[in-house]
């Protein structure tokens, strides 16, 4: 936790991290605060389809005549929550797999890593599409598909770091004295991989957002008539010439969010690699 605070503070001090943080905060406020200030309901028919922006509908009407501005304000929060939960699950699963594989080596390690290779052989979007085609566009399935796409890659990264830690003397000593493996993994390896895990989490969130928005764009994510930035881009594409706003604004907001998240995660990654003070390996169990 101290480490997280330190990296976040260092990241905020860089111009790129600051810009990223501002963008992400702005979009998050729009997404979560939006539903409370939306002038109309997202499913209410307010004007003619693809009507031009007017006093009543600030960004005009969408394909069915609903208020684009209200749909924009209400179309973000679910996207963000699903991405967060999916990334969390995926990174957590990948971390556990990576640590276990690194600790036990041998057959278990090979099995885990080869399975990881198999899952990574299919492009993530295709994997998600196949899953969604089988069971339908359920929300929990979307989260699962996202977790499934993050777990293998996280597992690889964390395994590399854990292998390094497992070679250290204090871990070897703990193993030699017969401490239970799970205890070692939790108290010795865990805290030492916390930084890479956090950085991985930060770097993967933009990809989750892109994946859910992309799935919604293709029609497989969150279903109509619920508003959703990805779906809005798709359903309003046909009349780009009449009223471009229902397409441009969600795309722009998505761009701001992903760019900001990436900038900030990048800044966090650089801060993690350049410690301002010597970071000592956490060695909680040594005294006991």
């Amino acid at each position: 936790m101290v480490e997280l605070a330190r990296i976040t503070k260092s990241a905020c001090r860089t111009p790129q991290g600051l810009v990223g943080l501002v963008l992400v905060t702005f979009v998050t406020i729009v997404a979560f605060g939006g539903p409370f200030v939306a002038p109309h309901s997202a499913t209410e028919f307010v004007t003619a389809p693809f009507a031009q922006p007017s006093g009543d509908a600030l960004l005009g009407g969408d394909v069915l005549g609903r208020d684009v501005f209200s749909r924009l304000l209400e179309g973000g929060w679910l996207l963000l929550i699903l991405s967060l939960v999916g990334t969390l699950l995926g990174v957590a699963a990948g971390t556990v797999l990576g640590i276990v594989a690194a600790y036990f080596r041998g057959f278990g390690d090979t099995l885990v890593m080869r399975s990881v290779d198999v899952i990574m052989a299919v492009p993530e979007l295709v994997l998600a599409l196949v899953l969604l085609s089988v069971l339908g566009p359920e929300l929990w399935l979307i989260v699962f598909a996202i977790a499934l796409s993050h777990a293998p890659r996280t597992a690889r990264v964390i395994r590399a770091t854990s292998l390094d830690i497992c070679e250290r003397d204090f871990v070897k000593a703990r193993r030699a004295t017969g401490v239970h493996p799970i205890r070692i993994m939790l108290s010795d390896i865990g805290p030492n991989v916390s930084t890479p895990v956090l950085v991985e989490f930060g770097l993967r969130i933009p990809w989750s957002i892109a994946l859910i928005a992309g799935l919604s764009f293709l029609g497989f994510g969150l279903q109509p008539p619920d508003p959703n930035w990805g779906a809005m881009i798709n359903e309003n594409r046909i009349a780009l010439i009449e009223n471009p706003w229902p397409v441009i604004v969600p795309a722009f907001v998505l761009a701001l969010l992903t760019v900001g998240a990436n900038l900030f995660a990048d800044a966090m990654g650089s801060a993690a690699k350049n410690p301002t003070m010597e970071k000592e390996t956490v060695d909680k169990g040594a005294a006991s």
Binding site: A121, V130, P244, L254, N262
Partner: protein, 342 residues
């Protein structure tokens, strides 16, 4: 090795071991990767088959659509062999797939191979073009950024590149459509209306925006990697020595710096190409490009299992091929690995 044995043994004895060492590692690597790749392919196809075959009733119902009555659904299931045990069905599928027969589409009864192959070729055209353009652009930009490192040019390009790298492919595509097709300029068509049999090369304007989207999404990675590796090469001892000897900048770049960037760059390009295999799905859907990706989306909507399997297998083959090729090229480009110091 050669200098120490040169005075003692005749030249031909020292030549043969070098030849064996050169061929063996690459061939062995390729064979090993191909073997693992085939195993991966089998497992992936099996998993996809199992996943899509979990609910046979839905397939029959979605095929029959409005005509679905309980009797017709059961008879269609019988006809399609959906009631046979899953393993038996998989084995049947596998044996015919190896011969190039991927069954018939559940949606329109046509042979999957005949109408999926032209689409796969279209997608390959798209990915190859995008790969070539983004490699050249990425290498060029990265090299210039390395040469002018930390100066305004570098900072601007690196910043823009970082921004572009973060945006999802369809956002980039949509913004490009808005700029070049509908709102700002009217240069390129927003969607393509070519039927799949005709090669997209016959109407290049329809290729521009999809290729541009893929390029914009992948160039950042190539630029960043090349910049990092080129800076490392430029700041190395041998580059300094070359400059002290009076080597021209162009020769320095092309004879000393670039050859040392080949291995990492080829790997990054490989990663970008395999990323494009997935990215092409969204880009094709966005631009209505008649490729394998858009066909996959249609097949998923219709739960057209044979088509889903065929295209997924094709994408996996592509991924494995790219992996093997990039590893082999990277190995060829790194003599240090081929001729270990004795």
């Amino acid at each position: 090795m050669s200098t120490s044995t040169h005075a003692i043994a005749p030249a031909r004895v020292t030549r043969r071991p070098a030849l064996r060492l050169r061929r063996a590692p690459i061939l062995r690597l390729i064979l090993e990767r191909v073997a693992w790749g085939t195993l991966t392919l089998l497992i992936v196809s099996f998993l996809v088959f199992m996943a899509t075959s979990v609910l046979p009733g839905n397939v029959a119902t979605s095929v029959l659509g409005n005509l679905a009555t309980p009797e017709s659904v059961t008879s269609l299931e019988e006809q399609l062999g959906l009631n046979d045990p899953a393993l038996e069905r998989y084995w049947q599928w596998l044996t015919s797939a190896v011969q190039g027969e991927f069954g018939s589409s559940l949606a329109n009864g046509a042979s999957v191979t005949t109408f999926v192959v032209p689409r796969i070729i279209n997608s390959l055209v798209l990915v190859t073009l995008a790969g070539i353009v983004s490699s050249l652009l990425g290498v060029g930009l990265g090299l210039m950024c390395a040469v002018y490192r930390n100066r305004p040019f570098d900072r601007v390009i690196s910043g823009v590149v970082l921004g572009l790298a973060s945006m999802p492919a369809f956002v980039v595509g949509v913004l490009l459509v808005v700029v070049f097709s509908t709102t700002v300029f009217h240069w390129f068509p927003a969607i393509s209306t070519i039927p799949p049999e005709i090669s997209p090369l016959s109407d290049p304007t329809k290729l521009v925006l999809p290729v541009l989207t893929l390029v914009v999404v992948t160039v950042p990675y190539i630029t960043r990697m090349l910049r990092a590796v080129a800076i490392e090469a430029l700041e190395s001892d041998y580059a300094e020595m070359a400059v002290l000897k009076g080597v021209s900048t162009r020769r320095l770049l092309f004879s000393h710096v670039l050859p040392n960037t080949v291995a990492p760059i080829v790997q990054v390009i490989g990663v970008c190409l395999s990323f494009m295999a997935g990215g092409v799905v969204i880009v094709e859907a966005l631009f209505n490009f008649p490729g394998a990706g858009s066909r996959l989306v249609e097949a998923v909507s219709a739960r057209d299992i044979p088509v889903i399997q065929a295209i997924t297998v094709a994408m996996t083959v592509f991924y494995i091929f790219i992996n093997v090729a990039t590893d082999a090229i990277a190995l060829v480009a790194t003599p240090r690995v081929r001729f270990p110091q004795s």
